[in-house]
Amino acid sequence: MNNHNGRITSLFTNRDKHDKVMSLFITAGYPNLEDTVDLVLGFEANGAELIELGMPFSDPLADGPTIQEASNVSIQNGITIPKIFDMVKQIREKSEIPIILMGYINPVLKYGVKKFCEEASKCGVDGLIIPDAPLEESAILSKAASNNNLNMIYLVAPNSTDERMRRVDEESSGFVYCVSVTGVTGAREGNEVADSVSMFIDRVNKNVTQNPKLVGFGIKNHQDAQVISKKLDGFIVGSALIDTIKSNYPNNGWQENVFQFVKELKYGNI
């Protein structure tokens, strides 16, 4: 019935488990409203297979300084939910890459949950991640989402109990987002992520059995990504990507440098 139902699921079907899915997070409207569509298409051309488009919020309390700043810039640029929908439409004219909208619940509530889900689905969005609507509060969203064939992606964290992980697996569709460390979003120094994460991933694999699993938070390069996602289906990079944009923009050829970073994230230095 819905022509984009299952884009996320197809990504993980019949896949070589050594070939990790790379999902990239970019704040919609950063660094400029008109950059988002080109960036997403460029990410895809350089190895990204899943896109998380951040919907900026004035008070992003689960985010570190990088995404806070990108959100502020985007709000200053005049980002709105209809403009984000429009970006998705433009991407859909050229690409079938699965797109997830990720953001805080307040702007969605203000827009109207039902209207939001209907319009998101219509313009080609595949799923939602709303970090401040955990299972306890997701009832208002999940019904509208499933009515519109949107996947609901929930998170598990290192301090989630086994029972909680099983519940998240039960309620999620598309994939389960594994937060590798307790803390806010942001690239981590040294081996902080890799060292602490392996016991957590073993627990995830024991308890999350129905959905594919992507790991995020703190991943900054190819090496990190390969080590952390070794026993999972893929990885998510956000802050390190935005940091790369920030350090290159608006120099000549900034986009090429960003795409080079994306390519190296996926394939290493080649």
């Binding site: 919020f57 004035s58 008070d59 992003p60 309390l61 689960a62 570190g64 806070q68 709000i75 709105t80 939910i81 805080y104 619940i105 307040n106 702007p107 969605v108 509530l109 203000k110 827009y111 970090p131 401040d132 609507a133 955990p134 306890e136 509060e137 929930y154 998170l155 598990v156 964290a157 301090n159 989630s160 109990t161 909680r164 998240v168 937060v179 307790t182 803390g183 806010v184």
Partner: protein, 395 residues
């Protein structure tokens, strides 16, 4: 009418809840379980009440404001003297309670947000008394206008971290405190200073402040033989007001008024009148009334009072407003500052600017009252911390 809010999911009517990242869910569950245990734990309760009596200085007095009563020539006015609490405001009731809970849970590190600095000072005080590490997040703008409290917190051994994001006030300090909590959740207890945040905080903080209303009831029944006709309290997040109101909620004869900071006026965009002007939304973990844009972005509040300068309000107040059990009104910066002067001159008590918002509402209420009625105002804090703002205002 029987009043039982919140539900076990943390809802007051349609407001409240637990809108937090997954990482905080185990922490909230652990907190809820530990808090429930304290309710039937005579050792915990005894220690808490002993501290309120011997350290905080409770019960605080209920003072008859005779010259202010004569000034209006109508109902009798009483002040519930939370300004006489150790550290100068009601906030310490909750800081002590939550600190005992943190100790019981084996947490070694305390964090808190603060606006006017009163909750920060109360938390730093409790941490000093019990030997805990303490980090206080405070907006850079608030650090400027409440310098004295910054110095007090530092002297008490707390680390005060200035927050430079957003409006540089209470909202942003709260964001930063939550980020710290998410990062250090294993060893850190977050002492929230108002009846805001995710469940069980609004309920727990209310219950640590209900002593205000309970004492008021005992004291007024002793001096007047009955409950008051009106209760008035200022509302930012709403902790002093809820502690004052809650024990009277089932007595329909007691009319309750919450006074918000209208800033330059509730019809301007320089306001903190959340109930008057806000619409429901989610901030800092719960669903309540919020000042927000058409796009659902949180708007900056404005008030001359740092303690009321917050774009949200506790979910229980949102519910009490919707159910019409409490009526909420706005008072402007100017009206509040005039009340600071009037009450200082008539009663010899300098109120905090937050408290002055409640006092300023007497201008509107008193002409409508009768001589045989009783009005009780929660005198939530003293004004020493505001002397710079007050002298600049009247200069």
């Amino acid at each position: 009418m029987k009043y039982t809010a919140p539900t076990k999911e943390g809802y007051f009517g349609k407001f409240g809840g637990k809108f937090v990242p997954e990482i905080l869910i185990p922490a909230l569950e652990e907190l809820e379980a530990a808090y429930e245990e304290t309710l039937d734990d005579p050792v915990f309760q005894k220690e808490y009440h002993d501290l309120l009596r011997e350290y905080v200085g409770r019960p605080t007095k209920l003072t008859y404001a005779n010259r202010l009563t004569d000034h209006y020539g109508k109902a009798k006015i009483y002040f519930k003297r939370e300004d006489l609490c150790h550290t100068g405001a009601h906030k310490i009731n909750n800081a002590i309670g939550q600190l005992l809970l943190a100790r019981k849970m084996g947490k070694s590190r305390i964090i808190a947000e603060t606006g006017a600095g009163q909750h920060g000072v109360a938390t730093a005080t409790a941490c000093a008394k019990f030997g805990f590490d303490c980090v206080i997040y405070m907006g850079a703008e608030d650090m400027e206008r409440q310098k004295l409290n910054v110095e007090r917190m530092r002297l008490l051994g707390a680390e005060v971290r200035g927050v430079h994001s957003g409006s540089k006030t209470l909202k942003d300090a709260t964001n930063e405190a939550i980020r710290d909590w998410v990062t250090n959740v294993e060893n850190t207890f977050y002492i929230i200073g108002s009846v805001v945040g995710p469940h069980p905080y609004p309920m727990m903080t209310r219950n640590f402040h209900r002593v205000i209303g309970e004492e008021t009831g005992e004291q007024i029944r002793k001096s007047e033989g009955r409950d008051p006709d009106y209760l008035i309290a200022c509302v930012g997040g709403g902790s002093n007001a809820i502690g004052f109101f809650y024990p009277f909620i089932e007595n329909d004869m007691v009319k309750m008024i919450g006074v918000e900071a209208a800033g330059l006026g509730a019809d301007t965009d320089q306001t903190a009148a959340t109930i008057t002007k806000g619409v429901p939304g989610v901030l800092h973990g719960s669903l309540s009334y919020l000042l927000q844009s058409e796009e659902g972005q949180i708007q900056l509040a404005h008030s001359v009072s740092a303690g009321l300068d917050y774009p949200g309000i506790g979910p229980e107040h949102a519910h009490l407003h919707d159910s019409k059990r409490v009526h909420y009104y706005g008072v402007t910066d100017e009206e509040a500052m005039n009340a600071v002067k009037l009450v200082s001159e008539k009663e010899g008590i300098i109120p905090a600017i937050e408290t002055a918002h409640a006092l300023a509402f007497l201008e509107k209420l008193m002409p409508t009252t009768q001589k045989d009625e009783i009005v009780a105002v929660n005198f939530s804090g003293r004004g020493d911390k505001d002397m710079k703002t007050i002298s600049d205002w009247f200069a």
